[in-house]
Structures are given as structure tokens and as C-alpha cells.
Symmetry: none
């Protein structure tokens, strides 16, 4: 990468990081482009060299952060060492929850945008042979992929939507209390599938 290219990347990252701080601390609606560039220390015009508007930047940020989150989980959770499918999935989810608990700003930001679509994209980016990972985790033949997708989709949404309030507000209970329940739910859902 040339010197110029490097500098561009730095500028872009600078803007994204600054925006992330502002979006999480004061929300998308109350953050103006002026706020972002002022804090990032660049000129207003520079913003428009990299992003169409603040919604464009926000979207790119959501995608980026989600991908980071999933990739970390796939790489660091050690799910490969777990025995059953349920254990593998739980290992991945626990890693994600662990990251979010450590980084509540990130949780607040991703909010309820943790989604199946982004997960699918993250897997693809990390390992293009996406059905293979599925098999590795869930130990099922590709023929049932649709059912698998429904299962993972459901669990993902369940995790994403329950943990927001649990981690950030301890409502109705805190994460420590909730986690055992969550594991049991996940096992229940997967067992249901197995039985079905």
C-alpha cells in the first residue's frame, strides 16, 4: 500500500472511530457530521470523501463491528473442542456475550442489529466454505440446511434481543443469573430439533 493509500485508510478509520464514540454516547440522531469532523480533527469536506452521509457511515460501522464480533467468536471461542453441537454453539455465543459484556458501548451500538444476515456474511468472509462450518458446528448433512438456518436464526435473535436488556439494565435479571437459563433454552431448542 502506498503512503497515500495508508493515509486515506487512517483518515477513514479515524472518522469511523470518532463516529462510533459519538453514536454510542449520544445516539445517531443527535450526532451531526459537524460533531464528528470537529472531534476527529478533519475538515468537513473530508467526511464526504469517504461517506455519503452519516447513515452511510453508521451502516458501515454496524457491519464492521458485527463482523469483528463474529470473527472473534469463531477464532477465539475454541468451539472446535466442544463435543456436542449444542456445546459448540454455546461456546460461540458465550464468547460473543463475553465480548459484549466487556464492551457495553459496543452492545449499545449494535443494539438489536445483531442479525442473521450479518452473521452469514461474517462466516463467508472468514471462511468462504460456509456450509462446511455449519456442518462442523451442527454435524448435519447439507440437505437440512434450511432447517439449520431456522435454528441458528432463532437462537441468534433470542440471544441478541434478550441480552441487550439483561447486560445493560440487569432487567429482568443480570447476565450471571440469566446465562444458565439461556444455556438451558438453547439446549432445549436444539434437542427439540433433534427430536423433530
Amino acid at each position: 500500500m502506498s503512503r497515500v493509500e495508508e493515509n486515506k485508510l487512517l483518515k477513514k478509520n479515524n472518522l469511523m472511530n470518532t463516529a462510533f464514540q459519538l453514536f454510542t454516547s449520544q445516539g445517531l440522531a443527535k450526532t451531526s457530521i459537524s460533531d464528528i469532523v470537529e472531534r476527529a480533527g478533519v475538515a468537513k469536506g473530508t467526511f464526504y470523501l469517504y461517506f455519503k452521509d452519516k447513515y452511510d457511515l453508521h451502516e458501515k460501522l454496524v457491519i464492521h463491528q458485527s463482523e469483528q464480533l463474529f470473527q472473534h467468536a469463531l477464532e477465539q471461542s475454541g468451539y472446535q473442542n466442544a463435543e456436542t453441537s449444542a456445546d459448540k454453539l454455546i461456546a460461540i455465543i458465550d464468547d460473543i456475550l463475553y465480548q459484549l459484556q466487556k464492551n457495553p458501548l459496543l452492545l449499545q451500538f449494535i443494539n438489536k442489529n445483531l442479525s442473521w444476515g450479518v452473521f452469514r456474511r461474517a462466516i463467508n468472509k472468514w471462511e468462504p466454505d460456509y456450509p462446511a462450518i455449519f456442518e462442523e458446528i451442527l454435524g448435519t448433512s447439507p440437505a437440512d440446511r434450511k432447517t439449520l438456518e431456522i435454528e441458528v436464526y432463532t437462537i441468534l435473535e433470542l440471544v441478541g434481543s434478550t441480552c441487550h436488556s439483561v447486560i445493560l439494565n440487569s432487567d429482568p435479571v443480570g447476565l450471571d443469573t440469566y446465562l444458565p437459563y439461556l444455556h438451558r433454552f438453547i439446549r432445549a431448542i436444539m434437542a427439540g430439533f433433534a427430536a423433530g
Copy 2:
């Protein structure tokens, strides 16, 4: 209610209905107070007689719509006739999903705001003796209320977050396909509790 009182209520409802249409069709951020009053056919100043700002109006709208939704389910689902707890809960949830499917605008509006807190408030409004309804539905002693809350909280979040994409985008599958799975998940979760 006096003639004047009635008129005020009409004006307020007019503004809320108009705002609902605009919020669902173009989003909260892109809807201005000017838009609302223009379409409602009242003067700008009038808005401020009833609401602090558009966020105030929005919040009132979310609460109102959610309460309507839950109340309809409690009154019309006939959950009392179902035998098991799971059947009762499923009856209530199916009624809610039926309403949302018939009214996608409402679903889009409530978005992922279908929440446990609102549900609790709706129950309270409908029947002040809120633990009693819990017992009626779930057949458990008040001592386990915390556990019950977790259970209902989880199922509610599960339903709210999965059905958004399923109903509006048929992603990953349509509601007809998804519903049997959802029922099985709910039963699995509840059976898990029973077993636990």
C-alpha cells in the same frame, strides 16, 4: 366529558393517527412536526398544546399501540380455554402474531419495541392483580415469580425479534413455515423449565 374536552381529545387523536402514518411510512427521523400538523390540518402551535416534541408523541404512540395489542390478545385469544400453560401462552402469542400479520405497518412501527416492560404495564392496566393472571396462565405459585418472569421475558423477546423479519421479509422463511417451529421452541423452553 364536556364538549370542549371531547374536542381536545379529537384533536389529540387526529395528531396521533397522522403521526403514526408518517412514522411508519417515512420513519421517526425524517418526520418533522411540520409534516404532522400539515397533514393533520391543524396549526403548528396546536401541536405544542398536546405534546412536548415529536419524541414525546412517539413514545406515547408506542405505549398506546402495544397496550392495544396485548389487550386484544388477553381478551380475544381465548387462552382460558387452553389446557396446559404452554397452550395458553401460545394462544396469546398466536393472537399477537395474527394481529401483526394483518397490520404490517403496526409491526414496522413497534419494530423491536415489543417488550417485557410494556407487557407488564398492559397486564396491570387490564387487570390490576397482575400476579393472578400469571398464575392463571402458568399455573405456578407466586413464589417462583422471578423464574416466571424470566421465562415470559425470554419468550416475548424471542417472538418479538424473530417475527419482525419473518413477517415483513419472509427471511429466513415465511410466517406459515416458521410458526410450527416457534411453537415447538416455546414448548421446549417451557418443558425445560418444568424439568428444571
Copy 3:
């Protein structure tokens, strides 16, 4: 007209007059809305209550000024007292040229926008029975109206385009020198028609 209505008209006229001064002194392109409102002593938002943008204001100004110009000529030139058609037309044109010579800013503004279409509209506004005026000036039956239109169109364009440079720059000669020629041209054109 109510007090409020009067005030609105005053505000609008104020903006138009101010804009006219700025457009003529520094051109449309170099005049910003900020310039206009600042000099007019009103808030920026007020501009948008009356005009879509500066081009909208400019267009309204051109139409307004042209109409004033023509109306003055129709009312003050005394063309009715002239004998021949050519004399009548020349009386009208001389009045217009007299106005423009006295008011070079106006000439500069209207620039080459003095047009047949605006003339037609001005006549209509002043006296709805527009063919009647034509007959009065040109003494011709309505059957030849198309030919009349061509004649007047040509003379109007001729006057409009030649006099700009003649009055403002005395190029190739000054108005005093040019006027006799112009009269001769007009008579020549009209005689040509009569002959044809």
C-alpha cells in the same frame, strides 16, 4: 386585506426589491440568499416562506418588471393618438426605450428577457380582450393574427436585443444616433408586411 395579509405583502415586496438591487448590481450568480435576507433585514427562514429558491424569486421579478414596463407603455405612451399603425407601435416602443434609458439597472436586469410571451401576458392582464388591442394598434382583421404575431414578435426581439448594447455601451452607436435608424427599420418591416 387584513393586517396580517398586509404585512406579508410588505415582507414579500421588501425581499423582491432588495433582490432586484442585488441582482442588478452583482448578478444572479453572485447573489446569495444570505445576501438578500441580510440586506432586507429579515431572517433566513422567512425567504423560504415566500420563494422556493433564488431562481424562483428571479423569475417572478422578471415577469413583474416586464409587466410593469409594458403596462406603463400601454397607459402612458399615448399611442392612441398616433395615426398609422407604425406610428402607434413606435410610440409604444419609444416609451419602453425611454423607461429603459432612464433606468439602466432595469435594462440590465431584464437583459434579453424582454420577450413576446411576457408581452402577450402583460396585454392580457391589462386588458383581457387582447385581440382588440392588436386591432387598435395594427388596424387589421383578426383573421391575420398569426401574421401580426410574427410582425410584433420580430420587432420586439429587434428592439430588445439591439437596445441592450446601444443603451448600456453605446455600441456600435448611442441611442440618440440609433433611434432614427430603428424607426426607419420598423417602418420598413411594417411596410413590407403591408405590401406582402
Copy 4:
């Protein structure tokens, strides 16, 4: 011309041609330097190597295009073969109108900028002995040159301003209908001179 010189000329022509397209399609005011260089496929800085700003480029373009127009008329109209002065002038004008009719973009661009000054310059460029051409066309002694200039000036303005609307909008009539009238007007003007 050296290789480098040639390259420079190519770049400059490239910019001018691109600008011409943009100016005619979207107007001077709405065309930015960014638009021009982007479409021309050169860097922004390059623009400033050849032009001061977009107005400079525009002016050069007007002059260039007008000169081309007049030169074509002087070289291709065959006016030398016409007998009378009026016929010669009409031959030249018809050639110009023919060019403009074939190329409405050019007409739109030159707009009402077809002017006596440019014409004079074009003649000078084409044939430095400019009074001689005048004599050739109009068959008059150099002593009356001022009168000649008035005559040509008038006819030029007449043609320029009437034909814009006639060719582009067929208003008040189309060119085919208008041309015979125009010829008669020109003859009438010239006869008036002769008589005067």
C-alpha cells in the same frame, strides 16, 4: 509542434469539448469544475493549468464556437456568387441558420451571445483586411462604414434573437415558416438604407 505541445493541446481540447457538453446540457451555473474534470477523465489540478476558472473556459468557448460559425458561413455560403448586397447577406445568414438548425446544442450554448463584436473579430481573423470584405458584401464605399456597421449590427441582432425561440421552440412559428418573413425583413431594412 513538439510532442509535448501536442499533448497539451489535446488535454485542453478535451476539457473544452467536455465542458461544452455539460454547459449545454445542464447550464453554466449548475456545472462545476469537478463535473468537467471527472467527465474529461483528468485530475482537478489539471484544469487550472489551462483555465483560470469555469467562466474563463466558458468565455473561450463562446468565442471559439462563434468564430467557427462565422468562418463556416464566410467560406461555405458562396455569398460571392449572389448578385445584390441583400442576397449576399442573406446567403451568409442562411448558412448560419442552417448550421444552428442542425446543431441545436450549439444554438442553445451561444444563446443570445451571437454578437456584432464577435462577428467583427471573426472577420478579422479570417481575413485581416476587414473593410474589404464589407465592401465585397455590401458594395459600399469605406466612407459609410459606420452606417454599414449599424445595418449589419441590427440584422445580426435581429437574426440572433428571433431565431433562438423559432428554432428551439417553434415559437411563435417554426423556422420554415419564419425564414421567408426574415428574408423580407432583411431586404426591407436594406432597402430602407438604400432609400435613406
